[in-house]
């Protein structure tokens, strides 16, 4: 049986893993290789590295970080945050990333999805969608770290991204992000029901039950950030609960 994937998301800046809220009080939380290795030991199924500076100048440090992690941690790695060009994608993949995640640049020009798919294969193209509820059963796509309402309907955009060649959708609920109130189940259902490709749920996880709810709503993978970083839950605890709920997961020991 295919296991549901549990994916810790790590914020990176200047080649280090950082913690903080809204770009203020960023704290260095240690060596990226060590943090990644620790998550690997805990049976994390995949790691997402999100470049929160997302500037061209900082890209080199992220590439280097991926390179160092990929030398020691042998699970899938995804890099995201401000990726704009095929050259940037190539350098991240060459450094050892397995997938890259596109967000604002794909909204601006969806052709980048098609070109990345053609050049590197569907399996490495993740399209990240930041969605916010605007009315009953309607969510819009926001760009640039959630700052601008693009006016795009989240379902329409997710379908279009799939047609252009996305292999996966990383769906973040802006309403739920940071609340620890649970994933946005309605949003997840409407998106997963409209798509044939896997959806990674993000935003709102606070308790083990939330992970199981998102699986039941159709998510293929479950992403969480602060919950894991601050040690409120371990990946292992989440997986044991899912197992208890008869949801297939990978547990190694």
């Amino acid at each position: 049986m295919l296991g549901v994937r549990i994916i810790p998301c790590l914020d990176v800046a200047n080649g280090r893993i950082v913690k903080g809220t809204n770009f203020v009080n960023l704290k260095d939380v240690g060596d990226p290789v060590e943090v990644a290795r620790q998550y690997g030991i805990e049976d994390a199924d995949e790691l997402v590295f999100l470049d929160i500076m997302a500037t061209h100048e900082n890209r080199g440090t992220t590439v280097d970080l991926i390179r160092r992690v990929a030398e020691k941690v042998f699970i899938p790695l995804t890099a995201g945050g401000g990726i704009r060009t095929l050259d940037e994608i190539r350098s991240l993949l060459n450094a050892g990333a397995d997938k890259i995640s596109l967000n604002s640049s794909a909204i601006k020009d969806p052709e980048i999805i098609r070109r990345a798919n053609y050049r590197f294969g569907r399996q490495c193209v993740v399209v990240a969608i930041d969605a916010k509820k605007v009315s009953e059963n309607k969510w819009n796509v926001f760009s640039h770290g959630g700052r601008f309402d693009t006016g795009l309907d989240a379902v329409d955009w997710a379908k279009k991204a799939t047609e252009f060649g996305a292999g996966e959708i990383l769906l973040t609920s802006m309403d739920k992000d940071g609340t620890k109130d649970g994933y946005d189940i309605d949003l997840l259902k409407i998106i997963t029901n409209s798509l044939t490709i896997p959806v990674i749920a993000s935003g709102g996880a606070g308790r083990v039950e939330h992970f199981a709810q998102a699986c039941e709503a159709g998510a293929s993978s479950l992403l969480a950030a602060s919950l894991f970083h601050y040690g409120e839950l371990t990946v292992r605890q989440v997986k044991e609960y899912l197992m208890y709920k008869n949801i297939s997961v990978r547990l190694t020991k």
């Binding site: 049986m1 295919l2 296991g3 549901v4 994937r5 690997g40 199924d45 390179r67 990929a70 030398e71 020691k72 042998f74 699970i75 899938p76 993949l93 060459n94 450094a95 050892g96 990333a97 397995d98 590197f120 294969g121 569907r122 399996q123 490495c124 292999g167 996966e168 029901n193 798509l195 044939t196 490709i197 896997p198 959806v199 159709g218 293929s220 993978s221 990978r250 190694t252």
Partner: protein, 211 residues
Amino acid sequence: MRKKIAIIDYGSGNIKSIINALDFCGAQGCVVDSALQIEDFNGVILPGVGAFGPSAKFLKTKGFDKAIHDYVSSEKMLYGICLGFQLFFTKGYEDGEHDGLNLIPGEVKKFEFEDKNLKIPHIGWNDIKITSTLDSKKMFNAIGEEEYFYFVHSYYVLPKDFQKISSFSHYGKRFCSSVAYKNIWGSQFHPEKSGEKGLKILSNFINEVNA
């Protein structure tokens, strides 16, 4: 002296991860982009992500088709990963019909499911059932039953000969997730991305490679 393993570069795959994994297992991965080079090695890996047709065509254009056949007939070890594994077979049906390397008789077909909950690509960690052939025991030496490996693919292989299959997995249906037949090994999953167990398979491969 570390064993040298050639990794065939045909312009698509994430080769760095394979080099890293081999390095971790005590071998040296050497990227080769010319067909002439492979006869100098006792171990070759055919990696791959991307599409069947263009990749098969590229291998032929560059002369890898014949070089790989010659290499294999000298009984040296070959491992195919993901698309590289699919390319071992006779025909692939990704965007039309394409000839593969035909090292193993069989076809490569797309997953198609009525059940819309079965998303495609099949991405993630899935478990395997290991077969009882001698070659399979070598490939999965010291790997227990029902271990998980990392998959990412939309197409699956249908080998003609049951005896060459070294493991099965399940996604909507049973499919062959690896083969091991004499000196030809291959897996649909990525051993270089499957944690400790994946590294163990690569170590088993390296062990079979003559120094």
